[in-house]
Symmetry: C2
Subunit: 490 residues, 2 copies
């Protein structure tokens, strides 16, 4: 096992910003600005010779002039200056550097030679490097936003390592849109020193990290990912999104991060064996981050489906079977229970189709019956929030009394409907807690709704049933891996 303690890298007390400047639109000013505006909980020491202050903070001519110890130095200066700066940081005894500067091994042999000198100097002093060519790091504990874009991630249980800065920071931004919070993030850049396996090993045993996200393009020759991935997967879900799965992707990756993909088939099989959750699309990555961060794992693959429309029940059932989930038939005693709640023409089966109705309906009662059914392990609940019932009748109500009266009644009904989600979503949250079964909600309304559902009620919701099923399928697979290995360990 790699066992590099990165506590001080992610949660430093003192950071130096080498090459910091007040000139707008340079990384040397953008990243410091993000750090200051992000309310970083430690001390910041800008370093730039001949500069008095940077963004209102006292600036030092060199790291050696900083009083007291420094845990992390971020470097923004041009590539040719970096070896000498690393030497100075080594003398100062700084344990971690984050090299934002690009133009190293990713640009060709000359850059690779320069990077080798940087690594050599670092190793001489025993200091460890993030990057070069990193987009930065984030940590919620110390509120360290040492990132290129002005992203302010939500706090939460997910930590991410990414071999692409752009892909990584996009996930952070989507997280903010979707209600998914992060604890730590690192853009690993060229991985001249610290690599994805190191971050993965650290996240595996980091208590604040409950879900690991990884975007990888290539596995370096010295990186023995399998045992680390397996060790991590035994602790917590590891969501791996692999770029460079194909020839075209591999070629693009080679020109991007210099990564050599190797055989994808072999890699895929190894990661499966390791218990890693292999994600196929960027949307699925965020969907899974949301579910794994917020829901208990299912004990098996049997799913109960609640729906307000037959067609959506069919679509959900198809997706379940195509993704290895089982939709068991409803036993007679449960059919009787539902009979007493639903109109005579309900589906009398699983999916439980409550049948399209415009009156208030016993959604929560049905959900409770399903959740307490011993033969299922998880629930997909469609129509939890009925945002699609939009009444295009505004307050400008005109027409004869009959019309205005009807419309006024419709508007009052809409208000009552708007109050309903509160009860339903609180009910879903409580049922999950009570039964330990994951309930994924589906509401075909706009995406913004799903963020609010999660943020305000801790209910995981998706705009289509297929996305809910895909997420559930990954949860079932991972839970099976955990059960199997818990048995082996006993």
């Amino acid at each position: 096992m790699h066992d590099i303690n990165l506590d001080h890298l992610f949660n430093p007390k003192n950071i130096a910003l080498i090459g910091a400047s007040s000139t707008p639109f340079k990384w040397g000013s953008i990243i410091p600005l993000n750090i200051f505006k992000g309310n970083y909980q430690g001390n910041v020491f800008p370093v730039n010779p001949g500069v008095e202050t940077v963004l209102g903070h006292r600036c030092y001519p060199s790291v050696e002039d900083i009083p007291g110890p420094v845990d992390v130095a971020l470097i923004f200066t041009p590539a040719p200056t970096v070896p000498a700066i690393v030497e100075q940081c080594g003398k100062k005894g700084i344990p971690f550097l984050v090299i934002i500067t690009a133009d190293f091994s990713e640009t060709g042999p000359a850059g690779a030679a320069l990077e080798a000198r940087v690594i050599e100097t670092a190793q001489k002093h025993g200091l460890r490097l993030v990057g070069p060519n990193s987009m930065g790091i984030f940590s919620s504990q110390t509120e360290l936003h040492a990132l290129m874009p002005p992203t302010m991630p939500l706090k939460g249980p997910a930590s991410m390592l990414s071999q692409s800065g752009n892909v990584g920071v996009q996930m952070l931004a989507w997280g903010t849109d979707e209600g998914v919070g992060f604890d730590k993030f690192v853009s690993s850049g060229n991985e001249g020193d610290l690599n994805s396996a190191d971050y993965l090993a650290y996240f595996a045993h980091d208590d604040a990290t409950r879900v690991i996200l990884a975007y990888l393009e290539g596995i370096g020759p010295g990186m023995d990912l399998y045992p680390i991935a397996r060790e991590a997967a035994l602790q917590k879900p590891v969501l791996l999104f692999k770029g460079g799965r194909t020839q075209a992707g591999g070629k693009a990756a080679a020109s991007h991060s210099g990564a050599i993909a190797g055989s994808n088939r072999v890699f895929k099989a190894a990661m499966h064996q390791a218990g890693v959750i292999q994600i196929q699309t960027s949307q699925a990555m965020m969907d899974c981050a949301k579910a794994f961060s917020n829901l208990p794992l299912p004990q098996g693959n049997r799913v109960g489906i609640l729906t307000r429309g037959g067609g959506w029940g069919v679509i959900t059932s198809d997706a379940c079977e195509e993704n290895g989930l089982h939709v068991p038939p409803l036993p007679e005693d449960l059919i009787k229970k539902f009979d007493s709640l639903l109109p005579s023409y309900w589906s009398r089966g699983n999916p439980v189709d409550m049948v399209a109705t415009i009156s208030h309906d016993p959604f929560l009662e049905c959900l409770e019956i399903l959740a307490n059914w011993n033969d299922i392990d998880a629930i997909i609940a469609l129509g939890a929030v009925r945002a699609t019932v939009k009444f295009p009748f505004s307050d400008k109500v005109t027409g004869p009394p009959e019309v205005t009266d009807t419309i006024k009644k419709a508007l009052r009904f809409r208000q009552a409907m708007a109050a309903q989600p509160d009860a339903i979503l609180t009910g879903i949250k409580n049922l999950t807690k009570l039964t330990g079964k994951p309930i994924v909600a589906v509401s075909t309304g706009p995406d913004i709704l799903h963020r609010e559902t999660l943020r305000d009620y801790q209910v995981v919701s998706f705009p289509t049933p297929e996305r809910a099923v895909r997420v559930m399928s990954h949860m079932v697979d991972y839970a099976a891996f955990r059960r199997k290995n818990a048995l082996h360990e006993n």
Copy 2:
């Protein structure tokens, strides 16, 4: 070929609403209200004995009392009353009925017997039925919103037939969210008389319909879909989303629409042979509707990729290859052209990675070079709208002058960025027109952005590259089918 002319069904001059009422929350009042509020361009005749007016409109005791001809009667009355009403409509010479009333064959043998009587009566008079158990019809030409939910679809080139009312009207609502417009819609219900094949055949030769959407759960024994589907696919894209593909889905479908799915493998192969575009998820259905409604077809499978970040280029390339699209290498002369526009460390290949930069960049110039490249047939352009560049610095700018100055400059930069999409999106639209090559934009911002992009600039955009690739792959396959059959016909 089925050759039933449904012009008068979708665009009637006079409609009767049998069982119309002013009592809120009954289908008999909700659908009439949607029709009135929807600004229907014809005459409406509510029918309900003993009622003076319905929603402010004069009501007639029976269809026979309506002066002049009626093209379509909608029926909301309870199931047992329907046979007698159909008889009256037959005597009146009404050519089309839309039976909203449920409780027919979908509920069991008694309902099936009643439905058989309805069909028999209709056939005796030569009138044709939509439903029973239909959620209604929509037509943009006459602004006929004879639908259960108060959905007001956008006008556009897509027409849809759906064996599930809920799934169908959800697509209409999503269309409004996404900027996809509809010309006609029918919820086919139990298909006691007119069936999916009839609607498909009609849409195939309906000039106002340029894209056909179909949600099917089952193919009735008398429905010979293959020749009709093929004939339709030769005219225009047919997007088919099939429910009941699996055992679980088939079981749910049987309890929903009574549909018997049959062998999915055989059906799938037949539809492929017919040139039908087979859609796998509800999200893909709407994504494809958007692209096929708004973009020219590609002449082949060769894709040029423009990106602002290497990792996203890798992800897009992987998705292309996995979906049968080719990402050809960039020839030397094009590399030279890009060299003059981009920083030295750009990818020098396809994907063209413009390299993350915060300055204004030559996005449109690069796109033009790609679009004029003879060796590609289509473009996926990532980062067309940079909505994710959010500056979390509000107008509440505080701090020392250096900080406020920097933030003020950042705010001005943001304003300049906000003006940029206009030029870029107009440029994309013009380049598509000029080169005839479909350009699909990808912007990782929130979904709402994509609706605005389409609505305001006629640019098709998706929040992830994988969704863009999936859509492009369907377009490539369909274009190949059309080319192949054009050759055969010559």
